[in-house]
Symmetry: D2
Amino acid sequence: MRDLILHINCPDQRGIIAQFTGVLYDHGANVLNLEQHVEPDAKLFFMRIHADLSNMEISEDALHEILMAQVKKMNAKIQFYYPENRQKMAIFVTREAAPLYDLLIKHQSGELPCEIPCILSNHQDLKNTAKQFNIPFHHLPISPKTKPDQENAVREIIKKENIDLLVLARYMQILSSAFVTDYQGRIINIHHGFLPAFKGNNPYRKAWERGVKMIGATAHYVTADLDEGPIIEQDVVSVNHQHSVQEMIQAGRDIERRVLTSAVKAHLQHRIILDGQRTIIFHT
Amino acid sequence: MRDLILHINCPDQRGIIAQFTGVLYDHGANVLNLEQHVEPDAKLFFMRIHADLSNMEISEDALHEILMAQVKKMNAKIQFYYPENRQKMAIFVTREAAPLYDLLIKHQSGELPCEIPCILSNHQDLKNTAKQFNIPFHHLPISPKTKPDQENAVREIIKKENIDLLVLARYMQILSSAFVTDYQGRIINIHHGFLPAFKGNNPYRKAWERGVKMIGATAHYVTADLDEGPIIEQDVVSVNHQHSVQEMIQAGRDIERRVLTSAVKAHLQHRIILDGQRTIIFHT
Amino acid sequence: MRDLILHINCPDQRGIIAQFTGVLYDHGANVLNLEQHVEPDAKLFFMRIHADLSNMEISEDALHEILMAQVKKMNAKIQFYYPENRQKMAIFVTREAAPLYDLLIKHQSGELPCEIPCILSNHQDLKNTAKQFNIPFHHLPISPKTKPDQENAVREIIKKENIDLLVLARYMQILSSAFVTDYQGRIINIHHGFLPAFKGNNPYRKAWERGVKMIGATAHYVTADLDEGPIIEQDVVSVNHQHSVQEMIQAGRDIERRVLTSAVKAHLQHRIILDGQRTIIFHT
Amino acid sequence: MRDLILHINCPDQRGIIAQFTGVLYDHGANVLNLEQHVEPDAKLFFMRIHADLSNMEISEDALHEILMAQVKKMNAKIQFYYPENRQKMAIFVTREAAPLYDLLIKHQSGELPCEIPCILSNHQDLKNTAKQFNIPFHHLPISPKTKPDQENAVREIIKKENIDLLVLARYMQILSSAFVTDYQGRIINIHHGFLPAFKGNNPYRKAWERGVKMIGATAHYVTADLDEGPIIEQDVVSVNHQHSVQEMIQAGRDIERRVLTSAVKAHLQHRIILDGQRTIIFHT
């Protein structure tokens, strides 16, 4: 099988599905799965098509050309993804081990379709965890003075390793606007709070003080506005007056890792389409 | 707008989406939403299309004929549903008020697209609830001797009122096999337990004795095998050693009503396709 | 049985449980249930005791006196509640029917130990709902000019009916600081958002725009700071890109009513103790 | 601090709390936390007391003697646990890595108060996982013929390592009745299904075939009846028609590990009291 995943979005209009699936059918590409979504107020159409090209009657270049003509006709945007090209993911960490472990374990068991060429950290604490899974660990310490240099060192590693996706698995550093802009839509962060509540530092302490009865975690794409990027996944767990801040942190860990890994998996499977500050997440 | 909802299922093959949406597009029917699902092992394809016919260039009869030709070609089955034809729903109850209230309140607020011509019961307890919402209440008491007669009386009401959907909202009577067979796929029951655990009577007591830490409810289509029909929706709520059987019943009530109303809504919106003992439930 | 519920809070110190239960045991009061909680940082102790006085060997006045001596010795605060004195609850509504219905249905089924002498509203929309359950409905319209007068009318009804608890079941008016202060700890509100996110108006629209993947509801005591009072209960429901604002509102309704009714029940059963901005909620 | 945890259960009667806390208070033992539960039908009383003995005025032996006298007077049973005596836990696995990893990670981060002297398996698959965390791995293969010998080898390791708790983290072997009886109340198993539904093998396949909308996991004490032991914790996750059996297995993994680790933690913290086939699980 030779798989192709298409993301198509355009102004809503008649015949989008018929015409795109018609093009594929006419040339022997087999639609395995199709999901679409219309935003009625903005009149925008979004579609993900998963097709099998193994019985195509034309070349992939020819298909590409025909699809681009259709795209132009419909004033659409299109993305082509080939699942057999495995993406490369870099994981950024500081001291918290749980989300890193979860990514490494799920990767090891085959649930995350990617390679992990490196783990980067501003501290040494998780060096042994990287070693447990035989993944190169880059210790890049940071201070107010060295911040720009450190970010340059990060950029070099990303470039050298051809990194597609940057995952901030409780990386306790704020990336510069320039950095975030350069990797737009390719950085996923886990925030240990239920956004938009409890932005910034110490969300568990803030949650304790406010006396909330549920604590949450939020995986989102990183944008220049801290904790304001498009949300991919959220989950919560019940707490009560018996939970100390420390016990909230422990309860939150399970949620954080699950939410982050699930968001990373959706990204790697090309199931996410961005719609401004909102995400469309298809199921298959 | 003149809406049409299609349910199509057939052996999996190439070009199903392209050809059906092509037919609709060619004649001016606008696809508002399309969802499909493939069972890979059984190689079966299922699709729901929601289309707007208001700008069609041919008659509805002509469209019907063209679609039937396509259906025949693909060895498919098709169902046509017109949402503007409001379905008629009969609610069967015994003594428990919560699920009945929920259906009536959600119906009153416009969430359930149907008419409710009657409430049927083997007891008088909920007569006043029916009266609160001005819905005719039929008291049809039942005894081992009168069971066949009672079922005949039920059949007459269903026939007279042109009932499309029978909802058993904690109706504590077992319908005869003949009755169930005659209304196959049109009877929804709420079981106050997490099927397939705790079939039959007194599921809360059984759950208490077994010491479970969650209790659940299950909405399902009724088949001749008690509590074995295709499951539509399930939910659970946590319980602990402090819950008496009575408190489990109270906790379960909220789950039962929510699960039942949600399943009824999915049915009324033509979002459910049966696949043997499994249900495919589309989202929109 | 003659039941007494005690709330006791004091600086943490040795022997609190032993001494209070000792006093009760010594005079024939039988502890049915005891729950306690210590805030380790603030070194505060909180306890709820449910006792049966029916075999007491002294008068209730005598017991009261002995307990007050113990309270004084321990620098404690104590509250006495007698469950057989049913509380009186007033429900405030505007247009949204779901939480009102839930309170009335649960009251009718015996789950809420209180009387409901009146429903108050600034609109007429829910007059019929009140009538369905034979509860007096007071229509008290409000305008910027008449706000103080309206509040005075509300105060008169509360006084006349000896109201213990004011429940704002989607009452879309902000109460004056003076009013809130006068009924401190006796007003419960349901906010249709997951506090502290989405305070104020239109939380569902804000949630849609932010693209959250869960929406919530929060029941809390009302204080002078809008939506800042101590949280009693919260819950959430998952949403996705397919949910319109309207569908979020529908999904939220089930959560709102469940959370509000549950919070009201905890209050009526004297299971809530306030600890500053936090609530301690005992289970039994 | 010198901590003592007491489990006391006895026929319900007056003054249990007062008398036991009185004894402790009289001799300088400070109650940090007390939780109790009464089964009203069976008239049984259960209590967990967490006390600090560091300011005791008598010896621990003397306290023990006084408490035993009280126990005798009340026809009670008592257990003494000293948290500073860390328990020893053996983990049994076969091929599934997720629950093992979770126990090891939570142990490493300090959440599980125990030592892990060994991991036992009938296969070699998880040898490397044990090595990653530097825990001795015992490969004890099993065949119908060698089963008794293998169990004897297991018994020897348990004896040699002074194991207190045996955790079956997806150990795909059925222990003999004799073995289970000998370690009654000291073996915790994770069943990858929502008991009492889907007992035995392949619960995910059974769940898929039945078309359930939620799958679950159950941690329970092992008794001679397979999957019938007292339930400690359960949780579920929603699934739909899009989930293949394989995807159900993946979704279930997160639930299994969370439920097992949480049950193990409750046991290690002496928060579980058995009441026949039911478990009482205290919170602190």
